[in-house]
Symmetry: C2
Subunit: 317 residues, 2 copies
């Protein structure tokens, strides 16, 4: 059995055909259009989907679609998509469904990543798992009692907006000191820039194009400054992990997203801070690790939700 | 149908017979013995239970028992009870069962309070609810998808140890800046003492016997100092509530425990801080309120777990 699946990000759209063993049998990828209406975006996604479906010649009934936004699962409406605001308030799944003739199942992208890692990646076999996605922002997905948990209105899992510094850096969400302001790729670069401006020195020179990857490249060859920036990010991730461990007692916390490629330099500080703060028993039992599916976590999670709909109707709890 | 139920606290033991409508048909209460082994405590609880059972002349098969500790629900062992350390590592339910001849169902006291409020109190009718107990410490219980959630090892719900001030006051758990250090009855008194020692003035005079109730009594008649102490506690509770709202998107957060009687002076600061920090949609939807069952929340939650065992085996998820 096969489904269509896509992961729409602020930068790229990935579309694929996924079989029920989780193999992406065909895939396509392109940039997310930077302008246009939600209708235009739905048509673009539909065009990719039709093209890949025609190539495959497979009979496909359901399309799992991961989007960067909060979904009202009852109405199918996108409640809030800060990165693709033209989706706000739209029944985006219905639009893509009309344009493709295939039933669409929407899922939040961070939740989809958690579902993907739970199905085939680092969280498989665990009933209670948390996935933290470290990218431009910090997202989160919760697996509780074996199923994705999205709360009363679909907004649960906003791990990037756990408070880690009550009077800290202002956050786009309106609060201050959210984890996202200390542990996203954006935050790592900002913290480095602030410290370089204040006179610290590093093999990484301050420039408008400095990236989290530049800092990581410096850190793995022993640049103390870069290591210290990742240690700060790791400390705040450790504070948030201690909160998650004390509150939800998960079996595993999986780190996905682009910045998780810096796991080698984040792991030590995260685990040290988490152990310093969390209750001993759940802290000893929880496994903290990098995701295993890389960029495919979202598309595989979206595919899994499509199979769930095929197999027994929407099992969202 | 009737069950035995008890709530063992650090100070008092309450025992009752509860019917399946949640009416406490008979009750007894006494001080928790301050010394003795776990066996002694089990015998004391059993003595109360037998006495009340004999009075009632009812046929009772199950005894729900709320205790202040972490329970390994698989083995029935108490993993950790900071306030009654003689329980640590003991199969306390089995001990009470042997001494009474009645099957015992153990539940953590804060989880029991959440179950009680969900069954008959302020959280009834809500599938996703959180109960925060404000007492000597700060506890928490989670209702997820309609059932108590205790995580992988029974340790979930430690809301009192969410971090609200990363370099804050040292906590008994080994971390710093836990909510419990700013929002328990103990913390409210400590914060008041610190500020009075630093020269602030109040109608409440500094003394070794100053209690949270003294401060509350001053606050409700307009003592600015006492109001400001509760505002600080409320602010930190608001930070923690924003974390809970962003992470779990609950329908209701219920405040129980002795210090919840100060709800009148806590409510404003809690809600203001929570709304400042949490995502707008889940913050607007969540209801924050005081529990409706007062001191009976724990015993009623323990009773509910006993009925659950009778009705369909242990439904713990």
């Amino acid at each position: 059995m096969n489904v269509l699946a896509a992961d729409i990000g602020g930068t790229n759209i990935r579309v694929g055909i996924v079989d029920d063993a989780g193999v992406v049998v065909l895939r396509d990828e392109d940039e997310t259009p930077s302008s246009g209406s939600a209708e235009d975006l739905a048509n673009t996604v539909a065009k990719f989907a039709r093209r890949i479906k025609d190539q495959s010649n497979l009979d496909i009934a359901v399309f799992g679609l991961a989007i960067p936004g909060v979904i009202d699962y009852d109405s199918g409406r996108v409640s809030l998509s800060p990165n693709i605001p033209q989706m706000n308030g739209m029944k985006f799944g219905e639009m893509v469904s009309k344009a493709t003739g295939v039933q669409v199942v929407l899922e939040n992208d961070a939740t989809a990543a958690a579902i993907g890692e739970h199905w085939l990646g680092a969280a498989r076999g665990h009933s209670n798992a948390i996935c933290i996605t470290l990218g431009t922002g910090v997202g989160g997905g919760l697996i509780i009692n074996g199923a994705a948990f999205s709360g009363a209105d679909g907004t649960a899992g906003e791990i990037g907006h756990l408070n880690v510094e009550p009077d800290g850096y202002p956050c786009g969400c309106g609060s201050r000191g959210c984890l996202e302001q200390y542990a996203s790729a954006t935050a790592v670069v900002r913290m480095a820039e602030e410290r370089l401006s204040a006179g610290e020195t590093s093999s990484v020179s301050r420039s408008d194009s400095m990236s989290a990857k530049d800092l990581y490249d410096a850190a793995i060859v022993g640049d103390d400054f870069a290591l210290s920036v990742f240690a700060t990010a790791g400390r705040y991730l450790g504070i948030a992990c201690a909160d998650l461990v004390n509150l939800l007692n998960p079996e595993v916390i999986v780190f996905a997203g682009g910045l998780a490629s810096a796991w080698e330099v984040l792991e030590g500080p995260i685990i040290a801070e988490m152990k310093l703060r969390a209750y001993q028993q759940p802290a000893e039992r929880v496994k903290l690790c990098r995701g295993e599916l890389d960029d495919d976590a979202g598309i595989l999670g979206a595919a899994k939700q499509a199979f769930t709909v095929i197999n027994k109707g929407n099992s969202r709890s």
